[in-house]
């Protein structure tokens, strides 16, 4: 079956973009979970570590930025998709 309906194509594009950001978000969350627990543990013993801890918490957030970048490219920036519309 060949999909030719532009509306369906655009819908699939949007679903894809949503999945890219959403799944990346879940991944980043799983990563941060462990780091967050460890940081809370360290800060309880050594409050001076808070700054470094917060910063470590942000490391996995790059993942979700990648997901978002893919979404943005899908939705806005990639000409082949734009011509579908």
């Amino acid at each position: 079956m060949v999909l030719t309906d532009a509306g369906i194509m655009y819908g699939l594009l949007a679903v894809g973009a949503g999945l890219a950001t959403g799944l990346a978000g879940i991944g980043a969350g799983v990563g941060e979970q462990g780091i967050g627990a460890a940081v809370v543990g360290v800060v309880a013993e050594e409050p001076g570590f808070l700054g470094k801890g917060l910063f470590l918490m942000l490391l996995p957030e790059t993942l979700i930025i990648f997901g978002l970048a893919v979404s943005l490219i899908l939705m806005f920036a990639w000409a082949p998709f734009a011509t579908l519309l």
Partner: protein, 680 residues
């Protein structure tokens, strides 16, 4: 430099060095057999004792470090010291100990009263409950009636019970075990009987309570007195603390010197241009009986190569200085490394502003920071607050660029013009175009800057961040900042490696990274702006340079393994998209708040067609409350993440290119003391 002198002059020399506050001392390691550790000066033990006593007074008065309200001269401190350490100290300590004693008594009595409370209905005087040889007494509470079972266990027994399950059971000692077994079957929990009380239980409780009251009455004036003493003497005590710290620092410093029976040797670092000052001052203080020598330039170079830790003095103009906090949090630069504080000062606030980019949020954070600045007066907090203040100013500037006050189309557009979200957004059918309201914001037709080029309908000002065209522009801007930022990092990396004389590392490890990131980024930008399949010569050139840079990496010191870092460099660049992404997330929330308040809640509650219809007062109140609540939450999140994410961009994306490859340096901390409570 090295200082050597006779023990006779050690005191004036130490005094002079401390006063000059120039020499970074290197501790003597004890490695040389001919030299031993120095001995502390004669009065050291006395100072230590005084400090311990003063610190305990401080603890009792709950004095913590603060900014001084007034400064003291040396003679003032000396004249007050005896009084504070003597009479005043005795008074404080005895009062504070009495308060602690009272606290303890009150707690004991309250515990007793609380444990007796369930038993208060028992008709047994307290003095009958203890002191028997042949009787065992069980006092406490049970969950079910015990009388019948107890009399079964021990024929001779007496049970007093009251409604609230409280019991007092008397039984012969030889039956105690059985009775206790029976009681535990009924969920018995024992209450210990205080031995010093008499009379009925309820009167004992009221006695305890009145005793607690009278103790509290005694405690209150003591606490007030302590508070008054603290208020009167806080600055004096901190000044004495400072004086004693200085004295003990001076008297204990010979422990860091190398010494023989009659002489001492001091090893230390100082800025080259200060050497002559220090030499002449110290020589005159010691009456010439001292030998001072400087390390030659070559020898210093030699020591760097050997990996000796040479202290680094961080010097920055005062407006940049707060950002040293950010640098120190990562690592102190080494002797030969570049101090990135100035770069942080340039990039960090711009990144913060680009993310937050809202006039109102910027003003609010500015006001809050000025309020906090007067409250938190320690140097660390002051630096942090200054950083956020500078960043907030940038946020206001970008707020004007983006036309955002409390979010896009927030109060800004509601008050000044009638532009609508849909009118400003590009439509699905025309993703590169813009709506009909484009350029009709507060700046009117001035908002249209530049001519129309192809699909793009000229520039726009203020730039509506939710519009398709703006997202594309901001992707470009973010990537471009990334190219610039990592590029500068790589250039500094090359410079640092050259300073350490590592030519191969500089040209085949750092240089390809620079080429790769710059041209990969430019190529990516070209593809995004020009659409896919773009064969613009610059894009092709970028691709060529990227390939060349990868070949250089393979030729580098790590060989083919050098290539494995490529994904890291790509992710470095893409990471800068967070400058756009976090900003979008934050204006998303702000936009939702405004829509909810102006276009949903207010018209709905007042039954009007839209926000420009007749609104009832209650609708406006509800709308404004919701508006403020959502904006408040957004602002809290909106200050934390624009702060942390640029920080991360510096630490991970930029600093890794050039900074502290060799494990971080030592900061230049000259022997001396920053006086705050004492006059110079």
């Amino acid at each position: 430099m090295v200082l050597a002198g006779s023990n006779n002059v050690i005191e004036p020399v130490v005094e002079k060095l401390h006063e000059l506050n120039l020499l970074h001392l290197v501790n003597y390691s004890g490695a040389d057999e001919d030299f031993g550790m120095g001995k502390p000066l004669s009065k050291s033990a006395e100072y230590s004792e005084q400090i311990i006593r003063l610190r305990s007074i401080e603890r009792y008065l709950e004095i913590t470090d603060k900014m001084p309200d007034r400064q003291f001269s040396e003679s003032e401190v000396l004249s007050q010291m005896d009084n504070v350490l003597g009479g005043l100290g005795d008074e404080v300590i005895s009062m504070a100990e009495r308060v602690a004693q009272i606290d303890n008594d009150i707690k004991v009595k309250q515990d007793q009263a609380a444990s007796l409370a369930p038993l208060s209905a028992l008709p047994v005087p307290l003095e009958l409950l203890y002191g028997y040889d042949s009787l065992a007494v069980f006092m406490g509470t049970v969950t079910s009636p015990v009388e019948a079972d107890v009399s079964k266990a021990s024929y001779v027994s007496e049970v007093f019970a009251s409604g609230s399950n409280a019991v007092a059971v008397f039984a012969p000692v030889d039956k105690a075990g059985e009775v206790s077994g029976v009681l535990s079957e009924h969920g018995f929990s024992e209450t210990s009987v205080p031995k010093n009380l008499t009379g009925s239980i309820s009167s004992a409780i009221s006695t305890l309570e009145s005793e607690v009251k009278s103790l509290e009455g005694e405690r209150a004036p003591l606490q007030k007195k302590l508070k008054d003493l603290k208020a009167q003497n806080e600055d004096t005590i901190l000044a004495i603390d400072e004086h004693l710290s200085i004295q003990s620092q001076k008297s204990e410093v010979p422990l860091r010197f190398a010494s023989t029976g009659n002489s001492f040797v001091i090893d230390g670092w100082l800025p080259v241009d200060q050497y002559e000052t220090l030499k002449s001052e110290v020589e005159s203080a010691a009456g010439g009986r001292i030998q001072i020598e400087k390390l030659g330039e070559d020898e210093a170079e030699e020591r760097v190569k050997e990996g000796e830790d040479i202290p680094t003095k961080i010097v920055n103009p005062s407006i940049v200085r707060p950002y040293e906090l950010v640098t120190r949090l990562f690592a102190v630069p080494e002797y030969k490394e570049f101090d990135p504080t100035l770069l942080i000062f340039i990039f960090f606030p711009i990144m913060f502003g680009l993310i937050l980019g809202d006039v109102a949020y910027g003003v609010i954070s500015l006001v809050v920071m000025f309020m906090l600045k007067r409250k938190f007066r320690t140097p660390g907090w002051q630096s942090l607050i200054n950083i956020v203040i500078i960043a907030s100013v940038w946020s206001i500037i970008f707020g004007f660029v983006f036309g955002e006050i409390f979010g896009p189309l927030g109060l800004w557009d509601y008050i000044f013009s009638g532009s609508h979200h849909a009118g400003l957004l590009g439509t699905v059918a025309d993703p590169h175009g813009v709506g009909t309201d484009f350029g009709t914001g507060f700046y009117g037709s001035l908002g249209r800057i530049g001519p129309e080029i192809g699909d793009f309908a000229g520039g726009m000002f203020p730039m509506y961040r939710l519009a398709t065209a703006s997202v594309l522009v901001l992707i470009g801007v973010s990537l471009f900042i990334g190219i610039l930022h990592t590029g500068i990092g790589s250039i500094l990396g090359i410079k640092t490696e050259l300073a350490y004389g590592e030519k191969k590392h500089a040209y085949f490890e750092k240089l390809p990274v620079l080429l790769f990131q710059v041209f990969f980024g430019l190529g990516l930008l070209g593809l995004i702006v020009g659409g896919s399949g773009s064969t613009h010569p610059l894009v092709l050139l970028s691709a060529l340079v990227v390939v060349i840079s990868m070949i250089m990496m393979v030729m580098g010191p790590e060989g083919a393994m050098g290539m494995t870092h490529v994904p890291f460099f790509v992710s470095n660049l893409i990471s800068y998209l967070r400058l756009l992404a976090i900003g979008l997330a934050s204006i998303g929330v702000a936009f939702a708040a405004n829509q909810l308040a102006f276009y949903v809640l207010m018209p709905m509650v007042s039954g009007a067609e839209d926000v420009h219809g007749n609104l009832t007062t209650i609708a406006i109140v509800i709308g404004v409350v919701v508006l403020l609540l959502v904006h408040f939450i957004n602002l809290l999140l909106g200050i934390l993440s624009p702060f942390m994410h640029p920080l991360r961009l510096h630490y991970v994306e930029m600093f890794t290119k050039f900074y502290s490859q060799h494990g971080g340096g030592i900061e230049y901390t000259p022997f001396g003391y920053g006086r705050r409570f004492l006059k110079e």
